[in-house]
Amino acid sequence: MIPLENFLLLSAVLFGIGFYGVLARRSAILILISVELMLAGVSINFVAFASYLDPEAFSGLIFALFVITVAAAEVGLALGIVLRIFRERRTANVDAIDELKW
């Protein structure tokens, strides 16, 4: 059987790549994709813990299902807002959207 550590490592790497993407990318769409990567890491964590530690209750699996659903809803919502910004300013670059500061 694959040890639990491998799954945790995979999820940590995914989460880390996603977090790096949030910091490094300047397009709102790419930032959203990076957030999705972070959430993928979270789902893997939940599923791995559920099957190794808590096999009879599977609350972790349910949690992972909800994370996927909520993430989809979040992307839909955020894309709506990006679309609105794009209509107003013809850009989705977060550095160019800087009317509000300090």
Binding site: V35, F49, D54, S59, F66, V70, A73, E88, E99
Partner: protein
Amino acid sequence: MDVLGNELNFQYELLLPEIVLAVTAMLIVGLDAFRTELNLGRRTLPGLAILGLVIAGGLSLTWIDSDTDFARLITIDNFTTFFRLLFIATALVIIVGSWEYIERYVAHNAEFYGLLLLSTAGAIYMAAARDLLTAYLALEVLSFSLYTIVSLARNDQRSGEAALKYVLLGGVASAMLLYGLSLLYGVAGSTQYPEIAAALSAGVEDVELPLLLGLVLIVGGLGFKASAVPFHMYAPDAYEGAPLPVTAYLSATSKAAAMALFLRWFAGPLLPAIDDWQWMIAVVAVATMVLGNLVALQQRNIKRLLAYSSIGQVGFMLMAIVTISEVSASALLLHMGGYLVTNLAVFMAVIAFYNQTQKEDIVEFRGLAQTNPFLALVMTAGLFSLAGMPLLAGFLTKFILFQSVVDGGYTWLVMIALIMSTVSLYYYLQVVKQMYLYEPSGNPARWRLSPTGYLATGVLLVATVVLGIYASPLYTAADRATVALFS
């Protein structure tokens, strides 16, 4: 029965207040689709929202002193009832005080009211959850509604920008929180609060590191929702770009819900791990009150000023989490009640001012004491109460809060808080100075508020003053909620 053989309690009437809120929300949005056919008046939608809130509030009174749960997911105890009433009252005040603003400056009125009610239901379940999954879903119900209503300002480019920043950073914060929760689940082997508490108090020597990492991420994610430093970056922008009633709602319900979740988690499942998280919250609390209050000094826009002032207030509230005990938790609830009343008084006054003048810079408040003495009085009482002046709600509640932290053995935290409280007086006085010491810059003619404007500001003014002198009803309520929290 669930898979583990636990008897589950499916009494749906326990959830009636939130069901009423959700049904009203859908009714409002549905009715609005037939606006012209049904010939709806301009007061129909806010009236319906108020009706729903009043019914939900009345229903929540049914469960005073009950101590039960719904399917091991939602706790219905005095703590829940306290926050149900608090959040419903907040939404009620905001709708009464700003429906004219909403009509004029908010696009998609029906969706606005609907999402406001849904987010209230989400905030309530954050305080009521008994399972990490319920808490997470409630938090997202609140956040998603807020992301949307922040973007609803009419003809204001800042609104979209505020919503974008809020949704992107909110998504990152949720992901962090979730990763923390997944680690906590891995450490404790359950998502139920009582089981997590049992697992953590049984000893976690061999999983110290994942637990610590999980706690850092949980504090970060929750800190974002409460806009604690260093996770506050979005807050001033979201506050400034959002329509004013949404700003009021963000600084009231959204913060109080995050604090409720802090209390539920750190006084419940995470209490056995107190040595691991106490210092984190202390650091965050110090950073929050110092930065929030210092940056507020240089603000020129009233929304941004109130945003930073509310960040500073969160720092004070977090002190009570550091020294978590029955005394400090009840002091925190009391202070939260006082803060909500005062903060809403200021915001309702600012909304009434905006309705008349369409201005939101602090210098525009000059001469308000001449053009509208009543509004100037409400603003002054509210700002002084936020600063903690005696005889007003803010003084009494802040005093009790600080005292409970001293009793908890964190005198140095209170020293910093006292200094920052004094600093805050300076920027609150800047606004008061504009209102009382200068001549009006524009038309010096007197103007009046709308009847509902008078109602909202008047009630909140009276509450601010009365709570400063006679706070024992709120004190008793906070006490009973705390007893339920720790039971």
